[in-house]
């Protein structure tokens, strides 16, 4: 199989380039894309750089653009993405490349930090724990599971154009996770921080985020809920 990988080393290269590798896949096995990268690195080119850790879709380190679609290399079967016997791997779009498939995620993390992704409660802490009904707890399902791989935000054109102003789908999913939490008392302040023309309203609902999320979450729906909360408060 032909594997074409984006290569860029800012210390030696003046411009990025695509480098082709011929990889012989073992018979009777459907490898993950991460396994293919490992084969290239072990057998052909030790200078190839990419992030990886858990290799089972939990850590979110190996988000990359696989044949044009963002995904986690470790849980993407080669057979599900390869077209015409060719696998094309590029870094996540829209973020500065540090080297090869490794991107600088600072802008992504800055937006995550902006939504204050932690519980804020001004009431005195109870002796044991802050209780929540099963119904209220159920509201957090589909929100807390995000692993911050950045596949969604880097597939979003609004985030490409305004990474410093638009929070992006990953950040907004977390924003709603705390807006929806019955134990959080800063709901009004959180909403006020989001009602400008960029933070939430740059979402045009094209749902790229939903189609690429490796955890099958739905940031567009969460953004819709935030808009509903803002509307309820503002009308």
């Amino acid at each position: 199989m032909l594997v074409s990988i984006y290569r860029y080393n800012p210390e030696t290269d003046t411009a990025p380039r695509m480098q082709d590798y011929q990889v012989d896949l073992p018979e009777g096995k459907d490898l993950m894309v991460l396994d293919v990268l490992q084969l290239v690195k072990d057998q052909q080119d030790v200078t190839l750089s990419y992030r990886r850790s858990c290799r089972e879709g939990v850590c979110g380190s190996d988000g990359m653009n696989i044949n044009g679609v963002n995904g986690l290399a470790c849980i993407t079967h080669v057979s599900s993405v390869v077209k015409n016997g060719k696998l094309v791997l590029r870094p996540l779009p829209g973020l500065p490349v540090i080297r090869d498939l490794v991107v600088d995620m600072s802008a992504f993390y800055a937006q995550y930090e902006r939504v204050k992704p932690y519980l804020q409660n001004d009431e005195p802490p109870p002796a044991i724990e802050r209780l929540q009904s099963p119904e209220d707890r159920a509201k957090l399902d589909g929100l807390y599971e995000c692993i911050l791989c950045a596949c969604c935000s880097t597939s979003c054109p609004s985030f490409w154009w305004n990474p410093d102003k638009f929070v992006g789908p990953a950040g907004l999913l977390q924003a709603y996770r705390f807006l929806a939490d019955s134990r959080d008392t800063h709901t009004q302040q959180r909403l006020s921080d989001l009602e400008d023309p960029f933070s939430v309203f740059r979402c045009r609902g094209i749902m790229n985020c939903v189609s690429v999320c490796p955890k099958h979450l739905n940031p567009t729906r969460a953004i819709g809920h935030i808009r509903d909360m803002l509307l309820e408060r503002g009308v």
Partner: protein
């Protein structure tokens, strides 16, 4: 909170709601005028002039014109702040964006005033 002073209402929710309300008004006007044309196969000048000479039609059309202004301004402002940014254009982006926004505004306000003049000149 991101500050911006050239968006219509300086508030995302306000712009978002206005764009949707204005879209409904525009659709209603287009459907009505389209329906009028479709049901008047032998449409002539007198019928057309008679329609627009009525006060309610002028008010309806003015509402559609103002909706067009609002809708297009929110849209053009969004285009300007999506594509005419330092990421795309470097240091000159602010002046290019401001110029684009001023021209868009001038064109839209001209359309509205000109159309009012036509409407009440019938």
């Amino acid at each position: 909170m991101v500050t911006n002073i050239t968006s219509l209402g300086r508030n995302g929710l306000y712009d978002w709601l206005l764009q949707r309300v204005s879209a409904v008004v525009l659709l209603a006007w287009l459907l009505f005028v389209g329906g009028f044309v479709a049901t008047h196969g032998d449409l002539n000048f007198n019928q057309w002039q008679g329609l627009f000479a009525q006060t309610w039609m002028r008010v309806f059309t003015l509402a559609a014109l103002l909706s067009l202004f609002v809708h297009a301004w929110v849209g053009m402002w969004t285009v300007a702040t999506d594509y005419l940014t330092p990421l795309a254009l470097g240091g000159a982006a602010t002046w290019v964006r401001l110029g684009f926004q001023l021209i868009s505004f001038a064109v839209l306000i001209t359309y509205v005033v000109w159309a009012v003049q036509i409407l009440w000149g019938i």
